[in-house]
């Protein structure tokens, strides 16, 4: 009886949610988070992606005439809600969900098998499961642009540059302060490998979620007296860490953050304590790029646009969302080139499009995104595509670029990825694809 009541109310809700959709539309779910401790990241990233879709619809009439549609679903950065949103959105639109951006490493892990079975590509841009870069084992998972391990090698290179050469890393001490979650732990093995290779000492210190209590950790840092601290934080953990570093008297110029620690929302709450702090980035902030100008002109001028707080337009999270929009739509565009221009694409076709995507310098210029992101060339073997990182420094008011694109060290990362992916394939009984046979 209880079921019947539930089923009846649920059916009523489903009736509400089900909407008639036109045939020439491409549906992309916007499963992000607008509440909770990580809302700045979710709303900024999601807003940027939707703004870019709105720009394409307003300026070009969609992708070759196929309009983009989307629907928001609140995941609260929680795995069960993320799975619920995925299941809810995967059948929407004429061809179902085109791609999924889980925007959470935990949700990405939960979706790997489900999305592969449903033939829906998952783009985990700059997060997620690192060894999914091996496209032979993970055909539907795309940790595009730069995965965690690549980024980490670039960070060590940057530290090497600051120290005057990689040979000077020998005997140095580096502390890795990480968010105690799947996301935070992901880089520990690659740091250990690099420590052995370059001869530095690395200490891993965990900070429990959500990370607003770090005195013990920074006391430990003070005892170790490291040369550098790598901050692998997320959300409220970042400003707390910077303030704790100030109290512990550790120079902020020696703290290097990951890109989920390097947005305006991570440093402004720390105030002066954040001055001089470095962070990695795969996208740059600002509104000077032509594509951002177009967003302002075509989307925000008409009173639309996702960012209610106009000062967040062009912030790191917002432009990261724009980059997410670009890689999503370029993948769809590439798929249309092969499977029919002006038609909505299925997830399977978009998977092909993403895998054969090549955003070169010329294409970046056409997109108006030169400098906003790096060129990207994806292949069956390599689902990452880019691999380079820029470093930014906070001057108390804004992020300044302090390096060129620093390439990651694939000689370390790639063998680790292949070994890890091969182990996954063995556990799961997956036969890796033969890339020479992929068309």
């Amino acid at each position: 009886m209880k079921y019947k009541v539930i089923a009846a109310t649920m059916l009523a809700a489903a009736g509400f949610a089900g909407t008639a959709s036109a045939q020439n539309e491409q549906f992309v779910p916007a499963n992000f988070y607008w509440v909770g401790p990580y809302a700045p990241g979710g709303s900024g990233f999601g807003g940027g992606m939707i703004d870019y879709f709105a720009l394409l619809n307003a300026r070009d009439g969609g992708i070759n005439g196929v309009k983009l549609t989307w629907e928001k679903c609140e995941t609260e950065y929680r795995n069960d809600r993320g799975v619920e949103c995925y299941e809810r959105s995967k059948k929407k639109g004429p061809t179902g969900a085109s791609v999924i951006h889980p925007l959470s490493t935990g949700i990405t892990y939960s979706l790997i098998e489900k999305a592969t079975a449903d033939k829906i590509p998952v783009i985990s841009m700059g997060y997620g499961r690192t060894d999914a870069s091996d496209g032979r084992v993970f055909p539907y998972i795309f940790p595009l642009i730069t995965n965690y391990w690549s980024q980490n090698t670039a960070k060590i290179k940057f530290i090497g540059m600051k120290e005057g050469g990689m040979q000077n890393l020998r005997g140095k001490k580096i502390v890795n302060i990480y968010h105690d979650s799947a996301y935070g732990k992901e880089t520990i093995p690659v740091l250990d490998v690099q420590a052995k290779k370059y001869g530095f000492q690395v200490t891993h210190i965990a900070v429990a979620h959500p990370g607003n209590e770090q005195q013990a950790q920074w006391l430990q840092v003070r005892q170790i007296r490291p040369d550098w601290v790598i901050l692998r934080g997320w959300g409220v953990m970042n400003p707390t860490a910077l303030k704790a570093a100030q109290r512990a008297g550790f120079p902020r110029e020696k703290i290097l953050g990951v890109w989920w620690s390097g947005a305006e929302e991570d440093v402004i709450p720390a105030g002066d304590a954040a001055k001089g702090y470095y962070a990695a980035g795969f996208n740059l902030p600002g509104t000077s790029f032509p594509v951002m100008q177009d967003v302002l002109k075509h989307v925000y001028k008409g009173g639309k646009g996702e960012m209610e707080d106009k000062s967040r337009i062009g912030s790191i999270y917002h432009t990261r969302g724009i980059v997410a929009g670009i890689v999503t739509t370029e993948g769809i565009r590439k798929a249309q080139e092969r499977f029919g221009k002006g038609k909505p694409m299925t997830g399977e076709q978009i998977r092909w499009g993403l895998e054969n995507m090549n955003i070169d310098a010329k294409r970046l210029k056409e997109l108006g995104a030169v400098g906003l992101m790096q060129p990207l060339k994806v292949s069956c073997l390599d689902h990452e595509g880019g691999g380079a990182v820029k470093f930014l420094q906070w001057d108390g008011r804004k992020w300044n670029v302090v390096s060129d694109w620093i390439a990651s060290d694939q000689s370390i990362v790639r063998p680790m990825i292949e070994a890890s992916a091969a182990q996954y394939a063995k556990e799961k009984g997956i036969t890796p694809r033969d890339c020479s046979r992929e068309k």
Binding site: F16, A39, N79, E84, E87, G106, Y109, S110, P189
Partner: protein, 358 residues
């Protein structure tokens, strides 16, 4: 009018002691079970089965576990999520290291591991009560997650601490679609709910309730305090462990410590409080309310804004949903402090007299 027991005579003790003494109840329950086993998998699509009903059943099982401990035996616990984590991780390890065992024995063994952990952390209950005990079980929550995160053995030395649950099969029959996973979950939940219902009607259950109502009086009439309390912890943890295993293998597909945070323990406690403390049905009602209602609100608000065409900021809607949800919890607790199960009971009593209440 339909719901009336007049004319149903009982001539044997067995008839008098059955779970549902009223014939209409028996019919309703068997219809409900038939509906759940046959109709739901036939009409439900992947979304309903995989993302709504299966997690609801799993959380109901966890709430049932906590209800045995808190509702029947009167021991407050905040370690539910930790027991679920033990169940999930140990099932993963049993399947990984002893693949010949099969999934069902693995789940049962994992449940027994959770029960063992429950007994250890139930020891303080021999000395302390109420809120103090809740704080002691809080230690269990943090300690178990700490162990799972710090010792690589539990995650098979995975770098991120997240492992994907293995494919499950019973006698080479794979449970790989949402329908099959739903049926497996439903089967386990039905069996365990029935077992719980019977357990609570037995001597053990009466001993639990005696301890809950007044432990001094219970020990005076000869109920062994240590055995009863620890048994309550063990049974409750076993239920939670099985729920955790199902959560990982039939719903999320991954096993990770973060999924079993303190937040989850609190949510399960809320399920018990809202559903009805000391009621099997209440566990199901509470789980339905806590897991399904936010999703329902979300669907309605999305539907409303689409139907009316009013563009409301999504952040506002998301926050409003949380506010409404919280408000409703307060409302329910004011109107009926004994939970949804009590409301159901009142409705049933009214129904027996309807339409001539005098």
């Amino acid at each position: 009018m339909l719901y009336r027991e007049a004319g149903q005579f009982k001539s044997t003790y067995a008839e008098d002691q059955q779970i549902f003494p009223i014939r209409q109840d028996r019919v309703a329950v068997s219809l409900l079970l038939a509906f759940a086993f046959v109709v739901v998998p036939a009409i439900g699509d992947q979304y309903w089965l995989g993302a709504i009903i299966t997690p609801f059943l799993i959380f109901a099982l966890a709430a049932l576990g906590l209800n045995i401990l808190t509702g029947y035996a009167g021991q407050l616990s905040l370690g539910t999520a930790a027991f679920m984590a033990v169940g999930a991780f140990m099932t993963y390890n049993f399947v990984l290291r002893m693949p010949w065992l099969g999934i069902l024995p693995s789940i049962i063994l994992a449940g027994l591991c959770a029960a063992a952990v429950g007994i250890v952390f139930g020891l303080p209950s021999l000395r302390i009560k109420g809120f103090y005990l809740a704080v002691a079980t809080l230690a269990c929550q943090f300690f178990v997650l700490w162990v799972l995160q710090r010792f690589g053995w539990f995650t098979n030395y995975s770098s991120s601490g997240v492992v994907t649950a293995q494919q499950i099969a019973i006698l080479d029959f794979p449970f790989n679609t949402p329908e099959r996973k739903y049926l497996l979950t439903l089967g386990i939940v039905v069996v365990m709910a029935l077992a719980a219902k019977n357990l609570m009607r037995s001597e053990t259950g009466r001993a639990f309730m005696a301890v809950r109502d007044m432990d001094v009086a219970a020990s005076v009439i000869g109920i062994p305090m240590m055995k009863t309390k620890l048994l309550a912890f063990a049974i409750s943890s076993f239920y939670c462990g099985v729920a955790g295993a199902l959560h990982a293998f039939c719903f999320l597909g991954t096993v990770e410590p973060e999924a079993y945070s303190l937040d989850l323990s609190f949510r399960i406690l809320f399920m018990v409080i809202i559903g009805g403390v000391g009621s099997i049905l209440g566990s199901f009602l509470g789980a339905a309310f806590i897991t399904l209602f936010p999703i329902f609100l979300n669907l309605v608000s999305t539907g409303l804004s689409q139907a009316t065409g009013v563009e409301v900021s999504h952040a506002l809607i998301s926050n409003l949903e949380s506010i409404i949800f919280g408000g409703l919890i307060v409302f329910f607790l004011i109107v009926e402090p004994q939970g949804l199960a009590r409301l159901w009971q009142i409705a049933k009593e009214k129904l027996r007299l309807w339409p001539f209440p005098h």
